[in-house]
């Protein structure tokens, strides 16, 4: 067949043209065998640029198109659509990455960058010559979503998907949904009571007829692909039959074993059989075997004896539940950076140096002090409180380099609320910069410093230590250049937000990417912020990066709408670039069957050859590299195509 490939070199303004001599690339490719048309243009992805491609396809009867521009992750879909509208098969339109892999990384060397660009484009031309016309594989779609994480983002995503008419499985690791937001006292900048706005949503999620709530459960394993995931969920043994339990709370009252409460951040005890907090959803207790007297000594059993409905069951085991879903929203949230790593601030050993979440509990009306600010060591009302921003954040040498985004605001809120409760108290707030990007945030900050007399000190605290029952803070005021020493009663740490502890493990199970700090990576930082690069996975909330509540909620709604859009399709179309086997060449050795991670390669006993099941194959190519006869090939990335690409790369 005669090859008539069209090459379209994009300038990307000066992004490519600034480093790569685009004219020379276009001219060099025009001479390449099989290239029928070659040109360059300022912005190939713009409307006129796309029209240029479309017109050339028709005018020059092109059999393949190479757009030498940005990474295929960005605009491959754009140009494939353009190609389709001009009557070309989308799988014969390819991108040559001369921006991310060339012009942006070789800015000092125009000659070499240009030569590399030419090689890159030539390689893609060679690939395109053997590209076949393919049709996407249509697979059925399970219109059911899994939401992992029951914080505010997860709840919002679940509600939005359910309200769009699709079933949702909401999985939460702890005994109740609500997440960190349930721990907060009041929220900036409106000072709404956090529980007052959250608990109705929690109840709504639990009672929604399309939401299946699974608390005290963890995702164990995920198999399958977008539209057809099979998820194994471990329902941890609660030792309470939660279907029978009425939530009367008698067992909690009578339980003799105590341990620090996670919900109260260790400031108050909880029982071994417990609900995390009184408004928990579902409001039914779980038994924590690690701290239970019965499990430790074999004696006690009070909860079992006292339970009026006989719901306590010491024999209960973890249970694995399998669910089929079509899309997965990951909203695993955040943790605070461990105080133990902040040695200069006492490393978590000084009682009156508290984390921001602990201070939220001290401020909360439902907290251990019923909303009165009392310091943990002796229960006295602190007269001087120091608030520290950027504890761990923005510290590339020692801790994490990123800004945790919300600390300036919540510490301002803390200082303000403290002043509302202790009128004669003094609040100091050490800051590097006060970042108040958000609606009403700057006004809130102004209010704190002007009306509530919070003293903002620009500088970093070098050391905190205990002396005579005081928490001594050594810092520097960089505006006056003077050292500051405050003998305070309490210090509050605005610790960095880090991804929640189990998030990395989950990300590995789901095979979705995280950044170097463990936050989930979005498909594109600007244009696809709620999707993962792996199809079928969507991101919501602080699992993707530090966020405040409104942002987490809007991202959750965004993810939910993406899921709804996916489910609104009749069938899901999968990429057809999968493996296939030439039965004439296959010797029936079954190596492909043994290497296939998805069991997509099967052996046909009758014909004594292997076969690929199209609906299952993911196109990884493991079988192709393993096939000794060369009968297994990948569609549109055959061995011949790879050989030709390699040769083209090394041609000149």
């Amino acid at each position: 067949m005669e090859h008539r490939i069209g090459v379209f070199v994009c300038h990307c303004g000066t992004n490519i043209a600034g480093t790569v001599d685009v004219k020379r690339v276009a001219e060099a490719l025009a001479k390449h065998p099989g290239v029928a048309y070659s040109t360059d243009y300022t912005y190939m992805c713009s409307d006129p640029g796309q029209n240029l491609v479309k017109d050339a396809i028709k005018k020059h009867r092109l059999t393949g198109v190479i757009v030498a521009a940005c990474s295929p992750t960005l605009h491959e879909a754009t140009f494939r659509r353009a190609g389709t509208s001009a009557g070309m098969n989308p799988y014969q339109v390819e991108m040559a990455n001369v921006r991310e892999h060339c012009s942006w990384v070789h800015q000092g060397d125009k000659e070499q960058a240009t030569r590399k660009a030419i090689r890159t484009v030539k390689a893609m031309v060679e690939k395109a010559k053997l590209d076949e016309a393919l049709a996407p594989i249509e697979v059925p779609l399970t219109r059911r979503a899994l939401v992992v994480g029951g914080g505010v983002a997860g709840i919002q995503a679940a509600l939005d998907i359910a309200n769009a008419g699709y079933e949702v499985v909401l999985v939460e690791r702890s005994p109740s949904i609500g997440g960190h937001m349930a721990q907060l006292s009041e929220t900036f900048p409106t000072l709404d009571c956090s529980q007052c706005i959250l608990t109705p949503k929690m109840v709504e999620a639990a009672q929604h007829r399309r939401i299946k709530l699974m608390t005290y459960s963890e995702v164990e394993e995920v198999a399958g692909y977008v539209g057809n995931f099979r998820v194994k969920i471990r329902k941890k043994a609660a030792y309470v039959n939660r279907d029978v339990c009425t939530g009367c709370g008698l067992c909690i009252q009578k339980c003799p074993a105590k341990t620090p409460s996670e919900f109260d951040e260790g400031l108050a005890p909880r029982k071994a059989i417990y609900t995390p907090f009184p408004q928990a959803v579902p409001n039914k207790p779980v038994l924590d075997a690690e701290h239970c007297t019965y499990f430790k000594t074999g004696k006690c059993g009070i909860c079992k004896k006292i339970c009026p409905v006989n719901a306590v069951d010491y024999e209960q085991k973890d249970e694995i539940v399998e669910e089929e879903v079509g899309a997965i929203v990951v909203a695993t949230g955040f943790d605070l950076y461990p105080m133990a790593k902040m040695g200069e601030y006492g490393g978590g050993k000084i009682k009156d140096v508290v984390t921001s979440l602990q201070f939220e509990r001290l401020l909360s009306a439902s907290g251990p002090t019923a909303g009165e600010v009392k310091r943990p060591s002796d229960g006295k009302v602190p007269r001087e409180v120091v608030f520290l921003t950027c504890v761990g954040s923005r510290d590339p040498e020692g801790h994490v380099p990123y800004c945790s985004k919300v600390c300036c605001m919540y510490l301002t809120k803390h200082a303000m609320l403290y002043r509302h409760k202790v009128h004669d108290g003094q609040a100091y707030l050490f800051y590097m910069d006060v970042r108040t990007g958000g609606k009403g945030y700057e006004e809130f900050y102004q209010r704190a410093s002007e009306e509530d007399d919070v003293l903002y000190v620009r500088g970093k605290v070098s050391k905190i230590f205990e002396e005579d029952g005081k928490v001594v803070v050594w810092g520097v005021d960089t505006l006056t250049g003077k050292k500051v020493e405050i003998a305070a009663d309490l210090a509050v740490m605005g610790l960095a937000m880090v991804p929640s502890a189990a998030a990395q493990d989950l990300a590995n199970k789901l095979k979705i990417h995280t950044d170097e700090w463990g936050f989930l990576s979005e498909a594109h930082p600007k244009l696809r912020p709620v999707e993962s690069l792996a199809p079928g996975f969507y991101l919501a909330g602080a699992a993707q990066g530090p966020k405040d509540i409104p942002e987490a909620v809007s991202q959750a709604s965004g993810a939910a709408s993406k899921v709804a859009a996916l489910f609104a399709e009749k069938v899901y179309q999968r990429e057809p670039v999968i493996a296939c086997i030439d039965e004439d060449l296959c010797a029936g050795c079954r190596i492909c069957v043994s290497v296939c991670p998805y069991d997509a390669a099967e052996f046909d006993e009758e014909k004594k050859v292997a076969r690929i099941q199209e609906a299952i194959c993911e196109g990884c190519g493991a079988c192709i590299a393993a096939c000794p006869s060369g009968s297994a090939q990948q569609k549109n990335l055959t061995d011949d195509q790879i050989y030709n690409m390699v040769s083209a790369v090394l041609e000149d």
Binding site: T73, W104, K511, C586, P597, I624, A625, S629, S631, A648
Partner: protein, 201 residues
């Protein structure tokens, strides 16, 4: 100064995306390597690597996901084993094993990609150009002549069969002792073109 030519086989999920990140972060590295994108590092057949050396590459870099991070579960482990087995083979052929490198570079590791790329270019530069032809003669191998893109085809047209087959033997012979196997394929050997020799049934 000698500028080595390097072929980079990058998996699309991790290393290719890592290279994209290096680009968006405007990190700078030497322009010696050109990327061939594959879905998974497990797709990289040792023959692709040998072909690259045959076609004049001075070095081959294979980039995949970190262990346990493979988008396709365990493709990177397959690569790890293949590369480990291929290295001594390269040595036998007179190609320094350091000319082949396997690296795990995640989508978040633009910095690592820059580091690996620069370091590998330095390594290969210090090894000097790979002159595969003389090496092949020295170790008694058959030297094939590279005439542009063309190599063993799965099903060569009848006339070209003999020529195509010869090439296949020369190259594939490097990977595994094909002749012994062929001898075992009894009656099909005559009828079938030699490149399609594996059909033993």
């Amino acid at each position: 100064m000698f500028e080595p030519r390097i072929v980079c086989f990058f998996c699309r999920w991790c290393t290719y995306a890592g290279a994209d990140l290096a680009g968006t972060s405007r990190k700078q590295y030497p322009p010696n390597g050109v990327v061939v994108r594959v879905n998974c590092s497990g797709r990289v057949d040792p023959q692709h690597i040998l072909w690259a050396f045959h076609e004049g590459a001075d070095g081959v870099l294979v980039g995949g996901c970190h262990p346990n991070d493979c988008h396709y579960q365990d493709g990177n482990y397959k690569t790890m084993r293949r590369v480990a087995l291929l290295k001594p083979l390269l040595k036998q052929m007179g190609i320094e094993p350091d000319r082949l490198r396997l690296e795990w570079i995640s989508a978040a590791e633009g910095e690592k990609l820059v580091h690996v790329m620069s370091d590998f270019v330095d390594t290969v530069r210090s090894l000097g150009p790979l002159e595969y032809g003389p090496i092949a003669e020295r170790v008694g191998g058959r030297r094939t002549v590279a005439t542009g893109p063309g190599r063993p085809q799965a099903k060569p047209p009848k006339k070209a069969a003999a020529r195509g087959a010869k090439k296949a033997v020369a190259k594939r012979g490097a990977k595994r002792p094909a002749p012994a196997k062929k001898a075992r394929a009894k009656k099909t050997a005559k009828k079938t073109p030699r490149t399609a020799r594996k059909r033993t049934r």
